[in-house]
Symmetry: C2
Subunit: 178 residues, 2 copies
């Protein structure tokens, strides 16, 4: 098990989740300007995280079953988020507040070290993402993301993956076929 | 003092730095494919971090006096880095190995918590960077980075800032004047 799976299994075993909620398709979990410091565990469904700048949406993260999703900027800083998180499909989510999560982490060095590993994992993911965005060739961008996250293409409709990959749905469709 | 400054002052006070080195202008501190898990403190000079893809250099970080620089992917994973780190100006650097740094951090909860805060800080920086790259307007990209890091424009030659901002030096020059 990787650090994420280990930590989540501990949250389950210790019955730490505070709320279960259902989110209808297209409903927003959080919006820009809201302070949302919860961590959410996706039991079912899928979501996208996007920002809006220059009247344009930029899909920056995609989440599906058995993954964590959070307004990470708000979670870390306790300030309002710059992100929107929206259900792509009907979702069942478990949540835990930062306060309760932090208390849990502080119970043992092992938990703290797991959380540390997860933060490091986020950093590595973001470095990969930075490279993804900087690469000009749409084919290369597709190949990198497919190699890293093949499941994404099972779980998420093409148009959102296209937005994440900074290309039109038509281009992505053509690349996938070739 | 922020977490970085606090942690660095502790490394100084406890004489934890292992090596001091001078790096001539244009010399490489590390190159793609090398495993380099040191943390470097910039006493003097400035450096740039870049990657090469599709035969093109992408400047992804810039470092100057009184800042930390590291091949962060290699530092975290212990694997070869994908980055090049090169001196823009003659540098004086202090370094500490990951092994020694980790031992130091593990001495106290306070240090561990500082390191945790620094990792969180890296994540926030990378989220800002992701937004920087996604924004189409060169003027907006310039404004965001100038607001966050005005000192960058004192320390780093324009052509590297232009590369970091994904625009030509001529465009950056024109934007700065207007």
């Amino acid at each position: 098990m990787n650090p994420l799976q280990l930590l989540i299994s501990q949250l389950h075993e210790n019955a730490m989740w505070e709320e279960e909620q259902t989110l209808e398709r297209n409903a927003f979990l959080t919006v820009e300007g809201k302070t949302d410091t919860n961590l959410y565990w996706i039991e079912e469904g899928s979501l996208r995280v996007f920002t809006i700048s220059e009247h344009e949406e930029h899909t920056i993260r995609l989440g599906y079953q058995n993954n964590l999703i959070t307004a990470l900027d708000s979670f870390i800083t306790g300030q309002p988020t710059k992100m929107y998180i929206q259900a792509i499909r009907k979702c069942k989510l478990l949540s835990i507040s930062k306060k309760k999560f932090t208390e849990f982490i502080d119970r043992s060095d092992a938990y703290r070290s797991l959380w540390n590993n997860m933060l490091e994992g986020f950093i590595i993911e973001q470095m990969e993402r930075e490279q993804d965005i900087l690469i000009n060739s749409p084919v290369e961008r597709y190949k990198r993301v497919f190699a890293r996250s093949p499941q994404l293409f099972q779980e998420i409709p093409l148009k959102y993956i296209a937005s994440y990959l900074r290309m039109s749905p038509e281009t992505l469709s053509r690349i996938k076929k070739s």
